[in-house]
């Protein structure tokens, strides 16, 4: 250890004298700055959006999504499902090449799934693959995934970077995940200085079979450098000087940037992010659906969003957001509580609250993204109908623990929170509301049965009906009151000379078409 400390001191001196270790970006490189770094390049060892976004550049997936979020062919050119819904067979495209030059075939798919289910060290997201029992290589371009029982969420999962195909040559690559990553995506991994930058170079033999890009071949730019710049004002400074081409700007500066035209603003659509009210349901007042409905009727999400985010975000009517299978604004509007302060007051009066006896509650929200300002608007909306809300803002880690604590508390004043979740399939509702519940909140055997149904129905129309049943239940009982989408890290500012930048559903930026 002493030796390494001496080494550290020597290298401190070297940092001062000789300059940084990280290579400067060349003029043919895209520089994309983000607020934080990925956790690892190993798709089985992390769950953060910051990691997923990088995997989506380095690796391919069997399927991809179109602009609406619907799964489409990608590395797999077609797929079939057995009649009992337990076998998925994929025909692969010819000509997909791994970054080390070996062709990508059915063995790489098998290697990836087997690795995810490794008994001694399974993938962190093993459960999302469903009850996979085995993977069978039929021929180099045909592979079958076998399940114990039907699991329809497998298809959208295979379009997400959680299911990134790892080339089987990675097995022998020392430092896989931190200094090596062998995929077949549009960008090849070059180096990673943790906390500072990830350097990628264009994969010249890339063929695009389904990714949301017009370019069917290799990316136009030579390289892509993903840097970490936590301070929003510093990212804006970098965008202004041209050191950075693409970054999330400070939200407060977006209107001015739009007006001046110095930078283009790109908003990610169909992110799957859902911001919603949920309640501590095991004690008064929110154990009574009337109190929850009163909050829902008192909330004018559209006005609040307009005031705080302008046209950067949209009110959302469904518990699963736009881009996710089953989302239907009209259906959800019919089953949810519309903005109606009179109804809210009437419900509160029924419960014994009124002008002389306001309902006192705690409103919990997550720091950042102007959510504190939004909470203040909601606070004044609730005050209109006689609900006095005390706002508490906290980091997401604390908030997750706190919401669960609130659900476990049997006394104290009521608590509601502005929770934020994101997933690409209605299966998210299962994670949130199936017993015991993500935060030990509302559960019922009736809802459990409805949720279980959404997992096994392989007929699309039948599944959609089951998802709708769940949504109607959640909305009518005001268990999950949707507010808006998207909700975090969804705004990108782009230098004016940069063309072709787009963001695919579920916040995956695509650089294949970028040129400047």
């Amino acid at each position: 250890m002493k030796q390494s400390i001496r080494k550290a001191l020597v290298s401190a001196a070297a940092t001062i004298l000789l300059g940084g270790i990280a290579p400067a970006a060349s003029a043919r490189d895209i520089v994309w700055a983000r607020y934080g770094d990925m956790d690892t390049l190993d798709p089985h060892r992390a769950t953060s959006t910051l990691s997923l976004q990088v995997w989506s550049l380095v690796y391919d997936t069997l399927l991809a999504v179109d602009a609406t979020g619907k799964p489409v062919p990608n590395v797999a050119r077609s797929w079939t499902t057995s009649t009992d819904g337990t076998e998925y067979t994929f025909k692969l495209n010819e000509g997909v090449v791994c970054h080390d030059g070996t062709p990508l075939d059915a063995n790489d798919v098998k290697y990836t799934v087997d690795r995810a289910f490794d008994t001694s060290n399974p993938s962190l997201t093993k459960a999302s693959w469903g009850p996979v029992t085995s993977v069978e290589v039929i021929d180099p371009l045909t592979v079958t995934i076998k399940l114990d029982k039907p699991f329809v969420a497998l298809v959208p999962f295979l379009a997400d970077s959680f299911s990134s195909i790892i080339c089987d040559s990675s097995k022998d690559a020392p430092g896989f995940g931190s200094t090596a990553a062998i995929g077949s995506g549009p960008w090849k991994f070059v180096s990673w200085t943790k906390g500072d930058r990830i350097v990628l170079t264009g994969n010249t033999s890339y063929r695009n079979f389904g990714k949301l890009a017009e370019n069917k071949g290799a990316p136009y730019m030579e390289g892509l450098v993903i840097t970490t710049v936590p301070e929003p004002q510093a990212r804006l400074a970098g965008l202004k000087t041209g050191a950075i081409q693409i970054a999330e700007p400070p939200l407060d500066d977006v209107p001015a940037l739009k007006q001046s035209g110095d930078l283009k603003i790109v908003i990610a659509g169909n992110t799957g992010q859902n911001v919603f009210w949920e309640f501590a349901v095991h004690r008064p007042p929110f154990n009574d659906p009337r109190a929850r409905r009163a909050v829902a009727h008192a909330t004018d999400a559209a006005a609040a969003i307009d005031l705080i985010y302008g046209d950067l975000s949209l009110p959302e009517k469904c518990p699963i957001s736009r881009g996710v299978f089953g989302n239907d604004q009209e259906f959800c509007a019919r089953h949810g509580q519309s903005y109606d302060p009179e109804k809210a007051r009437a419900l509160l009066a029924e419960l014994g609250y009124g002008p002389d006896k306001p309902l006192e509650v705690t409103m919990i929200a997550w720091t950042g993204g102007k959510r504190d300002k939004l909470a203040e608007v909601f606070q004044s909306q609730l005050a209109e109908v006689g609900i006095t809300a005390r706002i508490e803002i906290m980091d997401i880690g604390t908030m997750n623990a706190r919401v669960r604590q609130e659900n476990e508390k049997r006394d104290g004043i009521g608590s509601l929170d502005m929770m934020t979740w994101s997933w690409f399939d209605p299966d998210i509702l299962y994670a949130l509301w199936h017993s015991p519940g993500a935060y030990r909140g509302y559960t019922s055997s009736e809802l459990d049965a409805m949720l279980e149904k959404t997992r096994v129905l392989s007929d699309q129309a039948e599944r959609e009906a089951a998802v709708r049943d769940v949504m109607a239940y959640l909305l009518e009982n005001a268990i999950h009151v949707p507010l808006y989408t998207p909700g975090w890290e969804w705004v990108f500012a782009v230098r004016p000379e940069v063309t072709g930048f787009k963001v695919a559903p579920f916040v995956y930026p695509v650089f294949n078409d970028v040129r400047f």
Partner: protein, 307 residues
């Protein structure tokens, strides 16, 4: 002298030990759990798997047990792996410690180069307009938050004048964070220098030197400066610790890839092994610096090593 150093080292080890115990207890007081946070906001896993991961990380054990395991591994030179990404904590820290040390030392240099002469000048011209002006500037310097000063410098030198790069880690990138951190500390050094020098200037031996008819310059250099520097050296040790702490804020503004940023991320993610590793390394650096300064101090002033 060796006895003196031995005592200081023993005290230092004790300080580090107490710090790690305190931090281990404190991080568990903050609500939130690393595994829960990792999966928060998305689906990804089942409650059973979350429990399995918690068990594999040892998070299901009691806090004292977790601490003992931490110390046990530590004695083998192993700081464990991060909860996120499962990477060796020691490697991550040593990769980034040089950057923080470079920042802290450069900022120290800025503080010394600016603070010492200005403080000395103010003391020499005590009671004049120059003294008042310099000390007003110093109060302003101490009061300005790093965050605000950093953004001002960023917009002036990186965006408007474009003399320096905006953010990142490299030789030119060091200038702005070092200035930000150094300027406010220069103000502290200047104030300390002034009061220490004034103190010395009014002492009998200085009056004697003047009375002997020594030239003014020689009195200042040989008697005042030397005697006046002793308390400033001690203070530099405390300053250095403050500098390492201040570096956390400054690193964030300028995207300087140091251990401070690593620590902030780890705290938000409740990445316990990373937080513990950071505190250990941080405390060690501060303790080593203060021991070194104590030794320098003792060499300068023999009364110290006897006491």
């Amino acid at each position: 002298m060796w006895q003196f150093i031995g005592r200081r080292v023993a005290l230092g080890v004790l300080t580090i030990f107490i710090t790690t115990v305190a931090v281990t207890l404190l991080i568990h007081l903050v609500p939130g759990d690393p595994v829960q946070i990792m999966y928060a906001q998305s689906q990804g896993t089942t409650p059973e798997q979350i429990e399995q991961i918690r068990t594999s990380l040892g998070l299901d054990r009691s806090i004292p047990e977790q601490y003992v395991r931490f110390v046990g591994r530590l004695l083998e030179g192993d700081l464990g792996v991060t909860v996120r990404g499962r990477q060796p904590v020691l490697d991550l820290l040593l990769q980034r410690l040089p950057n923080t040390l470079a920042l802290a030392f450069s900022a120290m240099a800025v503080a010394a180069v600016l603070g010492l002469p200005l403080g000395f000048l103010a003391a020499y011209r005590r009671g004049t307009m120059l003294d008042t002006a310099l000390m007003t500037l110093a109060i302003a310097g101490v009061s300005v938050p790093h965050f605000w000063l950093g953004l001002l410098l960023l917009f002036a030198f990186a965006v408007e004048l474009q003399w320096l790069p905006v953010a990142g880690t490299g030789p030119l990138n060091l200038v702005l964070p070092a200035l930000t951190l150094g300027l406010s500390n220069a103000a502290i050094v200047a104030r300390m220098t002034r009061s220490s020098m004034i103190d010395v200037m009014s002492q009998d031996f200085v009056r004697t030197a003047h009375a002997k008819g020594l030239p003014k310059a020689m009195v200042l250099e040989r008697h005042v400066l030397r005697a006046g520097l002793v308390p400033i050296i001690t203070m530099a040790g405390l300053q250095f610790a403050a500098m390492m702490g201040g570096a956390i804020v400054v690193e964030n503004i300028f995207a300087w890839n140091g251990v401070g940023r690593l620590a902030i991320e780890a705290i938000f993610q409740r990445d316990y092994p990373m937080i513990q590793g950071f505190i250990l390394v941080f405390a060690t650096v501060v303790v080593v610096m203060s021991i070194l300064l104590d030794v320098v101090y003792a060499l300068v002033d023999p009364r110290i090593r006897r006491g």
